[in-house]
Symmetry: C2
């Protein structure tokens, strides 16, 4: 096979076989195909698209660029969840212990914050002592002992994805449904899962701002999961405002603890119960999604979910004292309150801006080398449709960077639109699709 000829084929919108795609991906991963050829291929694939089979082939080629874990020595079905990312999206921290408490095995490999969105790894690392860099022996051992494990991507897992993602980032080839699909699925399939729950976000705080794009991505992810014989339930959910009220790494751990302890944070709880319910259903511990949700509620009520959370944290090296008494966590140096300047209903949130504001406070990274401040972040109080009176709290911001306070206050103020008439509340779960 000849690299230029394969690039030419995709340039002419011809279909590539698995062997051809694998030639490109493994050649690139091994350094035999240079960046400039692979980027030309990526651009041709971006513009001319990859069909179902090609997307599946790309996923497979990226998956087998590294180690594919076998968890067959651990009994029971292994189910994971993947979210396309958002602002205040901490469901992983809550649903992993719920599903594990219900008897499902949850082998979760997560990522870091990207752009304006947070990442599960960064949140876990806000817990003192929590080790996300377990080796594969430790990973299996924790999973076996408590039914869940949460780590970061190792070098062995889908190395092609890491290389390709870095190249896409600098060649304007990021926002492609087939390329996104292969990136997500190659990492998830490497975990050794039997089934997957997908949370595809849409709205101003999501990567897929438009519902139609989110639907297309969900369809592509489902097709690819099915082509690997994995059961899958995909949700398309609202990201037009923060999920829950807490944004920032420790702040999200804090809110997760509250929910695990029974606090009713409406939207966050509803979504988490649906996702964990789907995991329990896919893990054959419930006969339906509805039953899975009921079991999830029971796991919270009984305290089993929170106990499981402590157990996971302990097994992964954490001193759980802060989890038991979260109010003892170190406080940020500065905080400010942002209030409503007039009466009105919360009409619209530019949720991307809220995400960027939290990054500016120290909760995320603008460049790879930026250090995260786990204490930094935002509490965002109202939900779209809520009535606000002049002077009511909209948000509270926390940071060690005094110089950022004014800028972030302005950013958040500009990101919030009030209206005279009461707007409809956005629907949280916009669509569900199951292939079980």
């Amino acid at each position: 096979m000849n690299t230029v000829e394969l690039i030419r084929k995709k340039r002419e919108a011809e279909k590539l076989s698995y062997e051809e795609i694998d030639f490109l991906v493994s050649g690139y991963t091994k350094g035999k195909i240079p960046d400039y050829q692979f980027s030309a291929f990526l651009m041709a694939a971006f513009i001319n698209g990859l069909d179902k089979q090609e997307t599946s082939a790309l996923t497979k080629a990226m998956l087998y660029s590294g180690k594919v874990l076998s968890l067959s020595e651990i009994p029971g079905l292994k189910v994971d969840k993947h979210s396309t990312g958002g602002v205040g999206d901490k469901t992983s921290l809550i649903l992993a212990p719920i599903a594990a408490a219900a008897g499902v095995k949850v082998p979760m490999i997560s990522g870091r914050g990207l752009g304006h969105t947070g990442g599960t790894l960064d949140k876990l690392e806000a817990v003192p002592g929590f080790r996300t860099n377990l080796n594969l022996r430790e990973y299996k051992s924790v999973l076996k002992k408590c039914g869940a494990v949460l780590i970061g991507q190792t070098k062995d897992i889908a190395p092609a994805d890491k290389l390709i993602y870095a190249l896409r980032d600098v060649t304007a080839t990021v926002e492609s449904i087939p390329l996104i699909t292969a990136s997500i699925m190659s990492k998830k399939l490497a975990e050794g899962i039997d089934a997957l729950v997908l949370d595809v976000k849409t709205g101003s705080g999501a990567f897929m701002k438009k519902f139609s794009d989110a639907k297309e991505l969900a369809g592509s992810l489902i097709n690819t999961a099915v082509s690997f014989n994995k059961k899958v339930i995909a949700f398309i959910t609202d990201m037009s405002q923060p999920l829950g009220n807490y944004i920032g790494n420790w702040l999200e751990v804090y809110e997760s603890i509250k929910v695990l302890q029974g606090e009713k944070v409406e939207d966050l709880l509803e979504l988490t119960l649906n996702l964990s319910g789907a995991m329990i259903f896919l893990g054959n511990k419930a006969g339906s999604l509805k039953e899975g949700i009921e079991i999830s509620e029971e796991m919270i009520k009984s305290g089993k979910a929170f106990d499981k959370f402590l157990q996971i944290a302990k097994l992964q090296g954490s001193n759980v004292s802060f989890l038991k008494k979260p109010d003892k966590y170190p406080k940020p140096k500065y905080s400010e309150v942002i209030t409503a300047e007039r009466n009105g209903y919360l009409f619209e949130v530019n949720n991307y801006e809220i995400g960027i504001a939290s990054v500016e406070l120290g909760a995320g990274r603008f460049t790879k080398t930026d250090k995260i401040d786990p204490k930094a972040g935002i509490i965002f109080y109202p939900k779209i449709g809520d009535k606000l009176n002049k002077g009511d709290k909209i948000a509270e911001i926390f940071t060690d960077k005094k110089g950022k306070l004014e800028e972030v206050k302005k950013r958040i103020t500009h990101a919030v639109k009030l209206s005279a008439a009461k707007p409809e509340k956005p629907k949280l779960i916009k669509a569900v699709k199951m292939v079980v």
Copy 2:
């Protein structure tokens, strides 16, 4: 400006401004933009296209990546010809002395053979002593003294083109009309010309096999020339069989001498007279193309064109004894005759294969480091529509590589189709377009 953002724009088929294109081209030429970003841009430009203004902007950016010669110190209009390349296309060697003898200034910067096609530089270098690597001072001096000069591209001329062409070659982005246009025109405009004659080839021995593609390229070249205020006459001409009968470097010099001395090589003479006639017309030494052709004929008949050829060769360092007595040129070690296996009319020639056959004999390069044998090549006798009897000569091949003889004989035999009925002869000059 931001490279990724500009790539994204072209990816979305948005229009780029001159400033944006120049940012990319000059950034790439200076090494500030890496190969992998420029190749992503090239692929996006290939698939989504560049319009008239963008093509002209790309040409300008590539042109000003290097030195743009001024020939204003030399009186008279400067006119050059560019051919898109073919098999046996030696018109430059004949028309440059004709036009110069008629008083037009011909500052010609030529290229080497590419793929299956020959290059003027390689042909000139078959003449012992002929220096194609004059510096710019010598270049101007020869042009001033005799009205014509033929050299190769210097490092100063459109360096962006050299870099971009090398990248296109390995990223499947060669066959793009806007990219080809900018590559051709940036080099030609750097010569300091006032007007340009274009010979866009079509047929099996051309890069543009289809007439429609040749027409599109001719249109794009004309638009770009006009946007730089250059007069232009473009011909679309047949390359479905070799031009003239001689293919190979010295063999083509030999045939050129014969034509300059008055021999009537029908197709070669007709095309050359048209091209030189167009140059003489554009150079204001004739009132029409027709008159330019008549003057060209006169230049041959009077011996002035051949004398000019000798004068140019002498000024460029050649001992002209071989030009005066071409039969004294060293002979190749091996030759073979290929004859018709049955009676019939010459119906079709796979002219690409004839070109490749000549490269195999040593007349061209498969890789950059291959050395050319100036003696190697082919004499191809019949023209499409000619009657052949069994045993009639089709071709004679010349080489120092004994091992190639059988393979090349087979290749040429397969490239030739005979028919029982007499086919029509292809029209040599298929279209002419003038902007004067």
